[in-house]
């Protein structure tokens, strides 16, 4: 019966072209390229990793910089950079969620799913472009930091490890983005949820001010906040850290190990939830 259909189709004027089997990687790159074209057409999409963090750097550095005394080279401005970068990669979940929700809403995801491709390509492609998006932010912020007196005071290996942890964090956050993006029905809802959660989480930490002077209970919460591990790890790796106070919590004492641990734990917990929510959203 299959043969018969094939013959009839060949006999008619329809001749289907050779469909090469592409792999997940090629498909994901094709989808990521589409997202890059979006950025090219709408450069304002990059505001969240360019103007916004630069504005934060300048605001915090010049508003708080004079009243917070950090005993390191470059002072508060140098201290601030790792915090701002950690916040920016945490916000990469935002980028994924907004993009995914928009594609789900507009039926683009369904269009992709009706093609003979690996169903994961939609998510992997989105992850690629999101990490690239965050990386642009890291470059812009590093350049901004250099002009206001921030610098890396260790070796190339540690400098690279710092950036690697930030990018790794962005990857873990992608799953949070996929989860929220699949669960929410509109871009507005995503914005609401993300602002209401990500802002307190990224502020209730050592990102913008040392935890030393916080009340005890708040200090404990802040130091166990995963974002604090990341920020502290980057500061230590880049030589922007200040001496720890005597009763600093465990995560601040072993920040690199904790950061790697958090990346693994967040991925292991959120990824299955994200995939399940995405499947449920799309398959029914």
């Amino acid at each position: 019966m299959n043969d018969q259909i094939g013959t009839t189709i060949r006999a008619g004027r329809i001749s289907s072209p050779d469909v090469r089997q592409t792999g997940l990687l090629g498909q994901s790159f094709a989808i990521a390229r589409r997202n890059f074209i979006h950025i090219k057409r709408m450069p304002e999409m990059l505001l969240d990793v360019t103007i916004q963090p630069v504005m934060f750097v300048l605001l915090f550095a010049f508003v708080f910089g004079s009243s917070i005394d950090i005993p390191i080279e470059g002072g508060y401005k140098a201290f601030l950079m790792a915090g701002i970068m950690a916040q920016t990669v945490a916000f990469s979940s935002f980028i994924v969620a907004v993009g995914l929700t928009a594609d789900l809403e507009k039926g683009i995801v369904d269009r992709m799913r009706s093609l003979p491709i690996n169903p994961a390509a939609v998510l992997v492609g989105r992850s690629f472009s999101s990490v690239a998006h965050s990386s642009i932010g890291l470059v812009v912020m590093s350049l901004t930091g250099l002009t206001i007196g921030w610098g890396i005071h260790t070796d190339v290996f540690r400098a690279a490890l710092g950036y690697l942890l930030l990018v790794g964090w962005a990857f873990a956050m992608i799953w949070v983005g996929i989860w929220v993006g699949s669960a929410m029905r509109s871009v507005e809802a995503v914005n609401g949820v993300m602002f209401a959660t990500m802002f307190p989480i990224t502020f209730l930490a050592n990102t913008f001010a040392p935890t030393d002077s916080m009340p005890d209970w708040l200090r404990t919460v802040a130091e166990w906040n995963p974002i604090s591990s990341l920020t502290q790890a980057v500061r230590v790796l880049w030589g922007n850290d200040m001496p720890l106070h005597a009763d600093a919590e465990l995560p601040l004492r072993y920040p690199v190990a904790f950061t790697i641990g958090w990346i693994i734990v967040i991925t292991a917990v959120v990824a299955p939830l994200a995939i399940r929510t995405f499947r449920r959203r799309t398959a029914d």
Binding site: T8, H38, K106, G107, P116, D284
Partner: protein
Amino acid sequence: MTRTHAIEAERLVKRFGDTLAVDDVSFVVPEGSVLGLLGPNGAGKTTTVRMMTTLTRPTSGTARVAGHDVLTEPDAVRRSMGLTGQAATVDELLTGRENLRLIGQLYGLDKSYIARASDDLLERFSLTDAGDRTAKTYSGGMRRRLDLAVSLIATPPVLFLDEPTTGLDPRSRVELWEVLRELVADGTTLLLTTQYLEEADQLADNIVVIDRGTVIAEGTPLQLKDQSGAASLVVTVSRADDLELAEQMLRDHVAEVHADRGARQLTAPAEGVAHMTRIAGIFAESRIELDDIGLKRPSLDDVFLHLTGHRAEDAAADEQIEEAS
């Protein structure tokens, strides 16, 4: 030799929670023909198409596309069909050509093939001049045409169109019908869902009428029209004041008259051309002026009313299952 079917739906059922969106739907679409899946909003058309195109898993039952089972060979199904969804799913920030290239790449088509096929498709859909503009600048009709062109980049033998002309102005609609007729002439098998009875009448070889998740009728447009019975006699008077008098006069000659004051129209069961001519003569002798008198053949709208007991448009507010899916 057995007849080949490009699409077969076999007892498809889809349940969302407590709602039975599709309830035991079966039909076949012979190769190279056009099936119109006709029904109001919420009838289960979109859900049926989503099951047949591997987007939604049936609760029970199955479907085959070009001989491939949607449950066991979803990838083969996806390779043999194109889908144009209800909303035009083109990427607005990409140009027409970039939209075609993206989908072509995802199919794994070769670069030079994509370039050639894109040129052909853009020309065929009168989009050549707009090919390098972002889809955001396109009109509704152009978006639909691009959406359709994108579905055709890999020349699938089977094409699913979910309400392809919803929201289009009448001219764009007729243009799209023209394009679809060409595709069918080239041998493509088409399944299209529509709420427009006229559209099914214009394009489909066979119509399956679906309401509240079940098939309530099927046949050729002609067969369905026959089902709804006789034609009617329609008389339109020139002055609204005359309507009552005209109604009384008409009652002497036909069994049943329905008056529509707004349209200044009287409708009665027709009893043939001779009968109509006689009635026209009676009015000519009276002082009542007529705008029009004639026989109206039953439309598919009448068929729907006859089959379901409600007009196609009325059901729109009933259920919103399809939007929720």
